[in-house]
């Protein structure tokens, strides 16, 4: 009998709660439609040395007519993703920021998973003002949602002193293919005993950079159909990766600190990665003058170019009260302010994707660390050549499958079989 009462209490309790929760949803759905101005707009981003610093500069530079405070909050990227997901899926806009930074690889999944949660900027900014390749990933369904921010333009950072020992100059590595790169790598290892690069078997950023040189990605144009089996660029990239392994020119690392440690301690002769690595390269002050940056090697295929991208992120405005003010803030700072971009480059080394900014003086500065190279103007000229691809919805989900596939391939399974397997797995998982 007691048990019966207990069950009864539980059931009543649940019914009451269920009723409450459905009522809430309706209420919040209605209120988010209205737009009124607010006193404070909140912005979320990660990395105090880069994105947060850029926001601070933007706040200083803002001269629009909005009368509001900008509240900048630093969160780890993982935390931002979790908070956005839990907040947006619960249907409440309480506690959500006005402005948020989202990584380009994840942008489409947020835009599609939470339609109406983001405020379109189509009429606010001119998407032609920004690097082309950023537009595909920051827009959805014909509307521009993201304000393209930092460039993930990739470069091949090389140690000129090691190359010299092996009889090469940076020019010999300029505009080469990955196959040529491997040959040079073998010679460099012979002459110096140093590995050519680091490889992290759990992070296929290397593969992503390779396939983007040919305008290819893990998914089709539609952003959701896995494009793995029969993807020639991916095949080529896998083959190249294996060649690097076989040639024994890669130092295996398993996390970020080992990756940074490898080039800071002079263990590798080159670092092919995104330009955001520059501050980490410069950490080793004793290596000043021993580095140069050349364009990314390309896949040895028709149509591949010597430019690629790794990472990068863009600003988004949430569809909550204060969105007009937030849009005004963004337009007058990251959306049009050339001077701001000069400050960003000079003070934080943050390379944006606002095309007009590249003509400024700050971009022409010669960097002593890189032997007097005009690094920023080089990087921004490569930015314009990056083939635009739609990163789509499933970059990280597919990559986790590919990592396993890569292990099988390195252990001797036929490439065709491997890619057919991963295609099958991806299709099964991404229904």
């Amino acid at each position: 009998m007691k048990k019966f009462y207990l069950m009864l209490v539980l059931l009543v309790g649940m019914a009451v709660l269920a009723a409450c929760s459905s009522g809430d949803e309706e209420a919040s759905g209605g209120s988010s439609e209205g737009s009124s101005s607010v006193d404070t707009i909140t912005a979320w981003a990660w990395d105090p040395a880069f994105n947060i610093a850029a926001l601070e500069k933007a706040k200083e530079a803002y001269s629009g007519d909005g009368d509001f405070e900008v509240n900048i909050i630093e969160n780890a990227q993982d935390d931002i993703i979790q908070k956005l997901n839990t907040g947006l899926s619960s249907g409440t806009t309480k506690g959500m920021p006005n402005i948020v930074l989202i990584e380009d690889y994840r942008a489409q999944s947020f835009l599609q998973a939470y339609p109406d949660a983001f405020h379109p900027l189509t009429d606010v900014i001119n998407s032609n003002d920004f690097a082309d390749y950023k537009i595909a990933t920051t827009s959805f369904d014909g509307e521009q949602y993201g304000l393209p921010f930092d460039s993930g333009v990739a470069g091949l950072y090389v140690r000129t002193d090691y190359l010299e020992e092996a009889g090469y100059t940076p020019e010999d590595l300029t505009n080469i293919t990955w196959d040529e790169y491997i040959e040079i790598g073998k010679k460099v290892k012979e002459a110096t005993g140093k590995n050519m690069l680091t490889l992290d078997p759990n992070d296929l950023g290397q593969i992503r950079m390779m396939i983007q040189t040919n305008g290819s990605w893990y998914v089709d144009e539609d952003g959701s159909t896995p494009n793995l089996a029969g993807n020639e660029s991916l095949e080529k990239a896998f083959e190249t990766y294996k060649k690097m392994m076989d040639a024994d020119i890669g130092k295996i690392v398993s996390d970020w600190s080992q990756f940074v440690g490898a080039f800071n301690s002079g263990d590798v002769a080159s670092v092919p990665t995104g330009n955001w690595i520059t501050p980490s390269i410069k950490q080793a002050a004793d290596q000043s003058g021993k580095w140069a940056v050349v364009p990314m090697p390309r896949l040895d295929m028709e149509g591949a170019v010597n430019a690629s991208n790794l990472g990068g992120s863009s600003w988004y405005i949430l569809n909550v009260d204060g969105k007009e003010q937030a849009a005004d803030f963004m337009l007058n700072t990251f959306g049009s302010n050339v001077d701001l971009y000069q400050t960003l480059v000079k003070d934080i080394g943050a390379l944006g994707t606002y095309s007009a900014a590249a003509e400024g003086d700050a971009y022409a500065v010669e960097d002593e660390f890189f032997g007097g190279q005009q690094l920023l103007s080089d990087l921004s000229s490569w930015t314009d050549e990056i083939p635009g691809v739609n990163y789509g919805l499933h970059t990280y989900a597919i990559e986790d499958i590919l990592v396993t596939g890569m292990q099988d391939y390195l252990n001797g399974t036929e490439l065709k079989t491997v890619l057919e397997n991963v295609q099958g797995q991806a299709e099964a998982q991404l229904k």
Partner: protein, 315 residues
Amino acid sequence: MSQQSTKKGELDLPVSLRYKETRREKNGVFFRKKVGWLFVIISVIAITIFNFYPMVQAFLLSFQSGMGGNLEYVGFNNWQRLFGDPTFIAALTNTSIYLLIQVPLMIVLALFFSVLLNDPKLKFRGFFRIAIFLPCVTSLVAYSVIFKYLFGIDGIINQFLLNFGFISQTINFLADPFWAKVVIILAITWRWTGYNMIFYLAALQNVDKSIYEAARIDGANAFQQFFQITVPMLKPIILFTSITSTIGTLQIFDEIVNITNGGPGNATISISQYIYNLSFEYTPDFGYASTVSYVIVILVVILSIIQFRVAGEKK
């Protein structure tokens, strides 16, 4: 034991008083029950709101699927999807391996240590107890990171093995599917053995010394004492610790994420990490993620029933 002592106490009261007490109890039984319910109702409501309601909601969610907020009911699709999902199967296999190897290993070790540390002749008992229990107060993330560096390719373990000539070339523990699992198992065992040991130590205090004395007089050696007396006396505690450890291992997350992040490939991914990935790492599908969560619930229930049947009282 305790019942006997209260009876003794009651016997001190005059007989008339005892009768009055019982009559008053009889009159107020309904009132008392109500008051009792009042005390209980607060926690019943709180548990309902914060435990049962979310459980029911999560169960309903496990029949839905879709990106982020666009969830819709898909019937048993999620449950079917489980069986064809290689990542889920890998996660389930890995978690089972951790469970099958790590839990028995840890229980035996904990039992072994607790018996050693219970020896009254042992010097510095307090020090050893603290030393073995100390890992339990360290933060999960902190110790995971330390393990990661210990077993790194330039880590102290590799240096040690290399310098003493056990290996001729460094082993990349965390990039090898087999060794990565070994590292995870070592890490969890290090972290949780002391925790379980404390339960056994506490239970051993309650084992009557005269039983051991009698056994010694009968000529039982230390092994016989251990298997014939200690283990049977600790049976309920062993059952309790193996159930809590099983649940803990099924939910393992922090260590995996921080030491190997599931890699190499999916060689160390656990069910909980897969749930996290489905919700936050990939395009969010909370429906499917909660289906996977319910697999853990089902496993915990099944394994606990088995453990009760095998080790528990017959009644």
